[in-house]
């Protein structure tokens, strides 16, 4: 029994000896944790004020309507009425559904078409800018000019181009009414949007191209791969992370499209009305409840698209996997080769 006791104390002490520094360490971890949270709390506070509050306020606002009734003397009844999800029901299935779904499809259509065109053109621009030739600096700078012009200004420029007596009609030798014909106005918006933002994609892709090692290309050339094969099997898989990020950014931007159709074509045009324009139009007519509801729906839609996109394509937006870059690269490269075969 006595021998057991020291053994047990020994065991005990053996347990506590490595245990106590662990406890100490965990104590210091909580200390650090507290310090850390104290240090980031101002940031969190700012985020709560500028991010969380508006989101919640908009959600809350969308549950009310105001200014819908008049009293006996003809004055608007003050205060607001709680309607719950009534506004959303009106928008999705009720009287406002036609306008909402039209704007929804317009937004989706513009996003799909412009981002596809921008990705293709941006890729082409990046490949050109990546080549070594005389005047490369000039080409790079001039490609960026459209991106540098504020959207509102470029929308005005394009409005003049697409005026009934404008340059576009003069070149085409047609009398197209760009601001009133449904398909023509869609084409006008897409043209202006692609013109403006393809350089952005080009720039991001160019950055991706520049990190591709020259040796990979040389090795492929030695193996007898042609230019097309090298592009398809080397450049594209290696530039994919940059391209995916560029496309994601463009998609999120395009889903919020507002100023370009607003200025280029005008308000309340069914053919180009987007979800942001709908929210704006309701807000200017003092229907804050529905405006908040449209904004919230757009937010949900953007969040959903971003989520699906990241899940499907694994966009590495801030390079959280940067430490595993070599491994990842290899994996992607192999996968690219494998699927190509």
């Amino acid at each position: 029994m006595t021998t057991d006791t020291p053994t047990s104390t020994e065991v005990d002490s053996g347990n506590t000896t490595p245990g106590s520094p662990r406890r100490r360490r965990s104590g210091s971890v909580t200390g650090t944790g507290r310090l850390a949270s104290a240090l980031v709390s101002p940031t969190l506070l700012v985020l709560a004020v500028v991010v969380m509050y508006p989101i919640i306020a908009a959600l809350y606002q969308s549950l009310f309507v105001s200014g819908q009734r008049l009293d006996a003397q003809g004055f608007v009844v003050e205060g607001r009425q709680f309607v719950g999800l009534g506004t959303y029901a009106d928008i999705l299935f009720g009287p406002a559904a036609e306008r909402f779904w039209n704007a929804f499809w317009n937004t989706t259509f513009f996003t799909a078409v412009t981002v596809t065109l921008e990705a293709v053109l941006g890729m082409a621009m990046a490949l050109v800018m990546h080549q070594a030739f005389r005047g490369r600096g000039l080409v790079r700078a001039s490609v960026l000019v459209p991106w540098a012009i504020p959207t509102a200004v470029s929308a005005l420029l394009w409005r003049w181009i697409f005026a009934p007596d404008g340059v576009a009609n003069a070149i085409l030798d047609q009398q197209v009414l760009w601001s009133s014909q449904a398909i023509a106005s869609k084409i006008a918006v897409i043209t202006a949007e692609v013109w403006k933002t393809a350089p952005f994609v080009g720039l991001l892709v160019l950055a991706g191209l520049q990190v591709i090692s020259r040796e990979v290309h040389e090795a492929a050339t030695v193996d007898g791969a042609g230019a097309w094969r090298r592009f398809w099997h080397i450049t594209l898989p290696l530039v994919k992370p940059a391209l995916v990020v560029a496309v994601l950014f463009r998609m999120l931007d395009a889903l919020r499209m507002f100023d370009l159709p607003f200025i280029l074509i005008g308000q309340q045009k069914d053919s180009v009305e987007t979800l942001s324009m709908l929210a704006f139009s309701e807000a200017t007519n003092v229907h804050y409840g529905p405006a908040a509801a449209y904004a919230t729906l757009l937010f949900a839609y953007v969040a959903l698209i971003a989520f699906v996109f990241v899940k499907l394509l694994g966009a590495d937006v801030i390079g959280e996997a940067r430490s595993q870059v070599p491994k990842n690269r290899g994996a992607r490269f192999r996968r690219g080769k494998g699927s190509a075969r």
Binding site: V51, P54, S179
Partner: protein, 429 residues
Amino acid sequence: MKSLRWRSISVMMVSAFVVAGCGGGGGDSSASSEISGRGPITFATGKDVTGAVTQAVETWNGSHPDQRVRLIELPADGDQQRQQMVQNAQTESGAFTVLDLDNVWNAEFAANRWVVELPKDEFDFSPFLKSAMKTARYRGRLFSVPAYSDGGLLYYRKDLLNKVDAQPPTTREEMREICAEVLELPAAEGMSCYAGQHAKYEGLTVNFAEAVHGAGGQIVNDQGQPTVDSPEALRGLETMVEGFRSGTIPRAAIAYKEQPNKRAFIGGELVFSRNWPFMWSQANADDGSSKVAGKFAVAPLPGITGKGVSSLGGHNLAISSFAENKATALDFIKFYTSKKQQRQRLVKGSLAPTRSALYDDPELQRKYPYLDTLKKSIKSAEPRPRVVNYGDVTLAIQDEVYAAISGDKKPDKALNALQRRLEKLIEQK
């Protein structure tokens, strides 16, 4: 992921800003309907392009050093002016004291108590144009005072009409007959007959209202009920649609606002044009910018079955409920709408007055030969629907009328749909 979240967050913030500042307009407010207090005030108005407004404010400030008026120039675009004024009212800000309201906003501002009721007996409205006074009241109570007026005019090519020995038309049918002859002339090669404002914006509501009134109909009757499903309204809309179909109105005119219409007329492309008085001096410019200087004249708008009726344009002054020094504001409104001030603004800025006598002033008539015609136009003009939710009503009108003139909907279908939408919009109230 983090910056992705940022992205969505920034999206949300943009959306949130759209809906920011919506206190819901509820609860007790600092608003006071009592007109009292003297001291410095502000005057919120559209861009003062002619300098006539600034001149009036300076005159006032010269004689009222302790009750100075500060001029706040809002954007030139009417929608943006309204938006800023509404935002100001929503936040119950006292930044704007005297508001320069487009006369179609009177009902909305009055019903929301954004502007105060004005004491009727402190004004003598007998010299004012009766049509303009209609826009100052809401349910029989006075909320604003008309400061400017405006009416549509039919500009026509006098030189071409003389060649075919025609008088300016009084109906659209006559106009078409004259066009048929004029367009045969070699001098009129490549010209079109007529254009108004047909783009999808407020101007379309103005032109549609004129067509309906010109056919003897009404958009909203005196009891406040929508009546666009009447045969008269159909006749009005069919005339517009037929104009486009037959080519009387050129195809490009479906995108016309005031300025493109003006460019077409002074570029010699139109025989007839419906536009506001502002076009007169630009069309008469002899610096080579106008091809029609000295070759045109104006007439009252032609009707469709009866006589022509213009839509009434113009601006009224009102006092914000949330501002201080309302007694000074009332004095300023009296000063601003006085005969002397209106005359000065007409001389300096060619801004049409709301006092009838000024239209008969021989000296002014020499300066502005269109004045007599404009008076006829304004006297018989009809205001656009005076409803609280005018913004929604005009949008519904633009939607359906535009669908009809662009050929997407048959006129009777469009008007039936419009009737239902207006009933819903107006019944809500």
